[in-house]
């Protein structure tokens, strides 16, 4: 096995097919599977868009600018992730943690901006039928019209970006566990309370916040079962996941936002 091959220890195993260690292969396989998951969603989106006549293009400059800033956050986070991996290779524990925290911060910024964008759109009337109505808010006739005439638009928007937002959220938690291990679980619980109590009851994030609670429980179980020190390979593998989530956004941003911008 390549774990030992990398350090010239005579191995009792056949050399790995890809000359790398198990965790990395496992992550690549997961990403392959996740590609198919997102592929199916993008297929559903294309199917809906092609089969629906008069697909609306309602996103005005405010949405596009916001999404561009979000994209900048994600791209920056990929850079800081690379720096975290480099620090881990140089065995610089302090910088590794700092760069990981910077990556998490960028990811959190992305989620917060995206959450705000969602809330604004829902308030303006781009909504799913079962989302609760936002009280005392002026709806924009155009978005209400879009939701009524082409229900596929809101459905694919919230489906695709929601699934991506879930992946970014899980990515931030993953990086948190790699960076801080057990110390991250109380932080995660605080984040859960903030997200749950800080959002109004009509917001989809009010109940969505419970994902953080579930994640805290699962992380607790995993750390209890395998309380080990994470090393540079864990940082590298987490980086693979993070870059993948970033890459998926590079498909979603043009397909969902730019192709539905108002100028078109």
């Amino acid at each position: 096995m390549a774990d030992s091959a990398l350090q010239n220890i005579p191995s009792v195993y056949e050399p790995s097919l890809f000359g790398t260690y198990s965790k990395k292969i496992g992550m690549w396989l997961f990403l392959l599977s996740d590609t198919l998951t997102f592929g199916a969603l993008l297929y559903a989106y294309s199917y809906g868009r092609i089969s629906t006549g008069g697909w609306p293009t309602p996103f005005h400059s405010e949405s596009i600018i916001n999404a561009t800033i979000m994209t900048a956050f994600l791209l920056t986070s990929s850079l800081t992730m690379v720096l975290a991996v480099r620090a881990s290779v140089h065995r610089d524990a302090k910088m590794q943690t700092l760069w990981l925290l910077a990556t998490m911060l960028c990811g959190t910024g992305f989620i917060v901006l995206h959450g705000r964008e969602w809330s604004n759109l829902i308030a303006e009337g781009l909504s799913l039928p079962m989302f609760p109505k936002v009280p005392h808010h002026q709806v924009a006739a155009e978005f209400v019209n879009v939701s009524k005439t082409v229900p596929q638009f809101a459905a694919t928007f919230f489906g695709l970006t929601g699934m991506h937002m879930l992946h970014v959220t899980l990515g931030v938690i993953y990086l948190g566990v790699v960076a801080l291990r057990r110390k991250f679980i109380p932080i995660l619980l605080v984040l859960w309370l903030v997200a749950w109590l800080g959002t109004p009851a009509y917001s989809p994030f009010h109940y969505g916040a419970h994902i953080l609670l579930i994640a805290a429980i699962v992380c607790g179980i995993i750390l209890w079962l395998k309380p080990k020190v994470y090393d540079s390979s864990d940082v590298e593998v987490a980086g693979l996941y993070w870059h993948f989530v970033d890459l998926v956004w590079m498909f979603i941003f043009p397909l969902v936002y730019l192709m539905s911008a108002k100028i078109l």
Partner: protein
């Protein structure tokens, strides 16, 4: 990686756990997890079988009042169809051969101390168990279990008001499938990584037993297919609970507008069958691998055409992703598309035939030992041919369209995907039981079980082909009242009686299994005189499989009757044999 120390690798061979909970419940040992999967599948198969029995009773005595359950209503019949299919496909045919035997024997057969990711392995089982509990819970909620079939076709599955059971029951059904997908994905990437990364010295890819190849390719199929089903399930949940319209076109229920519009039921069918067809191979490939293994062991001959077998498995797996459209010929697809799917589907006949002829070639002029595992392996070949031969019929749109909604199709897929794969599981159980439990199973009970099962399943599923050709539609309840089908009632009765007898025969298996577990004669380390690595270790294997060392492999997996060898088999870790010429 410089800091990636040796301890991380040694963590694969974790310390043997002490205490009941860590040893048998939250175990990281792939052998215990394999047994957990096996017993989960065993519980599920009896639930599924009970449901099928109720279906058979309802089909010939629609108004019968059953004890406790009362009369089976038509909608309840649809629920039975749905839950029988779902439980059997997911929690039996996917769980037992891959999660059960694959978990137990893949690491041992490649000489590894455990799976690559033991924690992930444990989580994968507990996720699957949670999925099963959620699935069973669907029976007990208001409205009962769903009635949209195991394929969950929209819009029936996408609307809360589409029928009884389409409320909370259908939500639980979808959530259970989604949970199962996540568990299956964790298992799949574990299997692939283990096979790629943890083979003992000398265990090259082309020295792997065909069982390992089958589990490996099955895992790849699972990795690629379950992700798509997960997406489809999420979209379906959104349609049901958030009011989106991915799968629901404009329409009414009982004169009321549904409030959905613009969606496409065909989108669901594409996404579902992109998963659904590979799923068929996920169920049958491990059985093919086990059958190949057993035919070689009990014929005392090398497998006929090892490389051809490997390439055939790969070809079947590859082609399996290109043929989902043949489940949708009825949907009004373009004849050109249908033609392409049809040609692709018939192309699968080529690797399948290669495998079949190689099995027959293995048997030819072998010194066959008719032990119970061998009987079931031969039974598998028989069922595989009988069930497979109707595949090329259904692969042609012209024949599929009249046959598709008749009993012909249940006859076809039960023989090949259901019973053939179950025979693989039985063969594997009889073969590996001594290694798993340290005792032999009772041979005469096994023989009774074999003849009950073989004759019984043929008696059940062969007549279904005739029913189908005679025009008996599937999925409907209470067809006894329909005049043009009146002459077919005796055949339906015959099938139900055959089902009673076959199910009674399965009780022999159950008794044998549990009786032998505690009272069977002690097994030696290698009772079948087989060559693969699980037979070099003690019975049952120690915690790290090989007692602290890793075997070194010098030979292929099927070296039987080697000229000049001291005995008629050469173990994989024996000194390398020189070619005769």
């Amino acid at each position: 990686m410089a800091t990636h120390d040796f301890a991380a690798q040694a963590s694969h061979a974790h310390e043997a756990p002490q205490g009941f909970i860590r040893k048998w419940v939250f175990s990281l040992d792939h052998k215990v997890i394999g047994l957990q999967y096996y017993f989960l599948a065993l519980a599920a198969v009896f639930v599924g079988m009970f449901l099928s029995l109720l279906m058979r009773i309802h089909l010939i005595w629609p108004g019968a009042a059953l004890p406790i359950l009362g009369e089976i209503k038509p909608e309840t019949y649809l629920t039975l169809v749905t839950m029988h299919g779902t439980i059997m496909v997911f929690f039996v045919l996917t769980t037992a051969p891959q999660g059960g035997f694959g978990n137990y024997f893949l690491p041992i057969q490649i000489g590894a101390p455990d799976m690559a990711f033991p924690v992930l392995n444990m989580l994968s089982f507990w996720t699957t168990l949670l999925g099963f509990i959620v699935m069973i819970a669907a029976f007990f909620v208001a409205g009962g279990a769903p009635l949209h079939g195991w394929t969950g076709y929209a819009p029936l599955s996408a609307l809360q008001s589409a029928g009884p059971g389409e409320g909370l029951g259908a939500d639980l059904w979808i959530i259970s499938i989604a949970i199962f997908c996540i568990g299956a994905l964790m298992g799949a990437l574990n299997f692939i990584t283990t096979t790629l990364d943890m083979r003992a010295k000398g265990m090259t890819m082309m020295r792997m037993p065909l069982t390992v190849w089958a589990w490996f390719v099955t895992a790849i199929l699972g990795l690629l297919a379950f992700g798509v089903l997960l997406s489809a399930g999420i979209l379906l949940l959104m349609d049901r609970n958030l009011g989106t319209s991915f799968f629901v076109p404009l329409g009414t229920i009982n004169g009321q507008l549904t409030g959905h519009k613009g969606g496409s039921p065909l989108l669901w069918q594409h996404l579902f069958w992109f998963f659904g067809h590979p799923e068929v191979y996920i169920a049958i490939l491990p059985a093919m691998g086990m059958c190949s293994q057993l035919l070689s062991v009990f014929s005392r001959k090398p497998i006929f055409g090892y490389k051809a077998m490997v390439y055939a498995i790969l070809a079947i797996g590859f082609l399996g992703f290109m043929v989902w459209g043949h489940h949708m010929f009825m949907s009004g697809m373009s004849p050109y598309t249908a033609f392409a799917f049809s040609v692709m589907t018939m192309a699968i006949g080529v690797p399948s035939a290669i495998k079949t002829f190689n099995w027959l070639g293995t048997l030819m002029r072998g010194k066959i030992r008719f032990s119970s595992p061998m009987l079931f392996a031969i039974g598998f070949v028989s069922l595989f041919v009988s069930g497979g031969i109707s595949g090329p019929f259904l692969a042609q749109p012209v024949l599929d369209i009249p046959l598709h909604d008749t009993y012909f199709v249940p006859g076809h897929f039960h023989l090949i995907m259901g019973v053939a794969s179950i025979f693989g599981i039985f063969a594997a159980t009889y073969y590996w039981f001594p290694k798993m439990f340290g005792r032999m199973m009772n041979e005469s009970m096994a023989r009774w079980h074999f003849w009950f099962s073989l004759i019984g399943t043929y008696a059940i599923f062969m007549p279904m082909h005739y029913l189908g050709m005679a025009g008996m539609p599937r999925r409907y309840s209470q067809m006894t009242e329909v005049a043009y089908l009146h002459d077919l009632i005796p055949l339906q009765k015959f099938i139900t009686y055959a089902a009673f007898i076959t199910i009674a025969g399965q009780l022999i298996f159950l008794v044998n299994l549990f009786w032998s577990m505690f009272k069977g004669p002690k097994a030696s380390d290698n009772p079948w005189e087989a060559t693969t690595l699980e037979w070099i270790t003690t019975t049952p294997p120690p915690h790290d499989n090989f007692g602290g060392h890793t075997p070194v492999v010098h030979n292929g997996p099927y070296e039987y009757s080697v000229p000049g060898a001291p005995r008629d088999y050469v173990m994989q870790n024996d000194p390398e044999i020189k070619p005769a010429h």
